[in-house]
Structure formats: C-alpha cells, structure tokens
C-alpha cells in the first residue's frame, strides 16, 4: 500500500472536488458518524442535525446529573417544602464535643420502605437513616439525620433564609459553626 496515496498532504492546495473527498476521507475510522450515536466535533452540522446533536448532549447531561445528588437550589419550591417540613417536625442538635450540628427529622411509618417525605429530603440533602422499633402502642419510626459542618451547612443556611419558626435558631447555629 502506497502511503503517499492515502495520506493527506497539509501543504498541498486542493481543488474544490478534492477538498470534498478530503473532508470525507480524513475523518478516519475513529471519528464515527452521528448515525453510530457519536458526535463528531469537527463536522459542521445542518440546522436539523444540530437539533439532534443538542438532544444528544442534553440526554448525556441528564445521565451525568442522575448519578449525582440533586441540587435543591434549582427548585425553590422543594427548598420551601423542606423548610416547612423541618419547621414542623425537624430538630436541630448541637454536639458539645464535635464541631457539628445535626438536623434530624423522624416520621412514624409502619411499612418497611422509607416514607416518601424523608426520601425526598435525603435525595436533596443526603444524611443517614435509622429505624426505631415500635414502643408501647406507638408506631415504628424512621429517622433521618443530616450532619452540618462548617464546610457544608446548606440545609441550616436554607432554614435560616426560608424558614419561619426555626429561622432565628438556625442563624444562631450558623454563627457558631
């Protein structure tokens, strides 16, 4: 195989017809077409194709974001709902020996799976679950505990900014953190 015939000489001036051939040939096998599901960054797309490319990019972005925790700041009503829930049933604990604050919320729930409310808070703010067994005639409880340190006090900050009942309490806790 004559290498000179297959390779493209960057110093040579090509005719318009040759240019078309070069554009098709120089992509090489590593740059598959959009039909294979891959995007070639060197290719110029038509308007219709551009829509497909944008849809591809957004689907890839969705895949990436689904593996990460959701960001609550993108949805204000979720933040307000969470703060309302914590204003009602939440509890903020300070540990004397650790420089940490904990936001805790417990929900009575007889079934084995987690209550939807705690699942939602966990999805946005993380934390760990404990299941407390039923005592006397009370139902078993699921408890979600979210630690808040000086490096990460998102939830306390949002309770201070959006809350009503525990806002002052949270502001004071933040000042100490």
């Amino acid at each position: 195989m004559n290498c000179k015939e297959d390779c493209i000489d960057p110093c040579r001036t090509y005719t318009e017809e040759e240019e078309g051939d070069v554009a098709m040939e120089d992509l090489g096998p590593q740059c598959a077409s959009a039909d294979d599901g891959l995007i070639d960054p060197r290719r110029i797309y038509t308007e219709e194709e551009e829509d497909e490319v944008l849809a591809f990019i957004s689907s890839e972005q969705a895949k990436v974001s689904s593996t990460h925790r959701h960001s609550p700041s993108t949805n204000n009503s979720i933040v307000e709902w969470t703060v309302g829930m914590l204003d009602g049933d939440g509890c903020i604990l300070l540990r004397n020996k650790e420089k940490l604050a904990y936001v805790r919320i417990a929900q009575a729930h007889s079934e084995d799976e987690l209550p939807a409310t705690l699942q939602r808070i966990h999805r946005y703010y993380g934390g760990s679950f404990i299941r407390r067994p039923a005592l006397n005639r009370a139902r078993p409880q699921w408890e979600l505990s979210i630690s808040q340190s000086a490096d990460n006090h998102t939830l306390l900050r949002e309770m201070a900014d959006h809350g009503i009942i525990k806002a002052r309490w949270c502001s004071n806790t933040l000042r100490m953190a």
Binding site: D87, G88, D89, N172
Partner: protein
Amino acid sequence: MKNRRDACERLALLKSQYDEIVVDASRLTAAYLGGLFDAEGCARIGGHDCIRLQITQSSSPPLLGAILEQWPGGSIDNGAVAYCGAKGDALLADLLEHSLGKLDQLHILAQHRQDQRDWQSEHGKYVRRGDEVLRAWKDKVARRKAQLAAMKRK
C-alpha cells in the same frame, strides 16, 4: 468549649421563644405550607360530612395567625388553625399542589368536595332525602372515612 456550652444554652433559650417569632409573610408560601402540613397537618371528614383541614402549632400562635391571614376562612382554636368545608377549598388546592406525605388523604378530601359540589349543582342546597339516596351517600362517606383511617395507620 465553655463558649460552645454557653451558645447551646442560648439556643435552648431561643427554642422556648417560638411564640415570640415575627412572621415574614413573604416566606409563608404554598410550598412552605405544604411541608408544614406534611409535618403537623391533619386531613379528615368531620361532622355533617364536612372536610376538615387542620394545622397544629401550639408553640407558635403568630404563625397560625399569619396562615389565617394568607388563607382566610378558617379559625384558630387550641393551638391549631382549622378550615371546614368550602372555606378550605383554596387551602386544599394549594396543598394538593405541594404536599407529598399526605397527598393521598388530600385526594380523598378533594373527591369528597367534588361530590358535594356536584350534588349542590344538581339539587341546590336541599338535603339528601329518600332512603336509597341517603343510604348511598352515607355508605360513600363511611368508605372514605375508612380509607382515610387506613392511610393514617400506614
């Protein structure tokens, strides 16, 4: 460490002052109330087959007053704000949009309200007369009350 202990005591003092909070009305949104209702709310079908929505917060009367101002029609009694029947329609609509934990119960109440409205549009304000009509209605209400009770036991 002493400072931290002092701070803890200061925070404990603040906790006992929930009744003195000043409510910022701009923070009292439908989404916030949805969360508060999921925590402290109660949905039921009460006397005279009226729906009843209640939010209890005995430690903070100013908040109850602010809720009543934003969603008029209810009443405050025993540390709770309560809405009965048609007076709770606006609140029910907002809660249906934002509540999560008690959404199933709210849907039962919404169906009940729809049935009541349908009856009124067909028959005016006349009470349900006739054995069959009355029995069918009472069965329906009893079924809904049982559904609500089962949801609360979950």
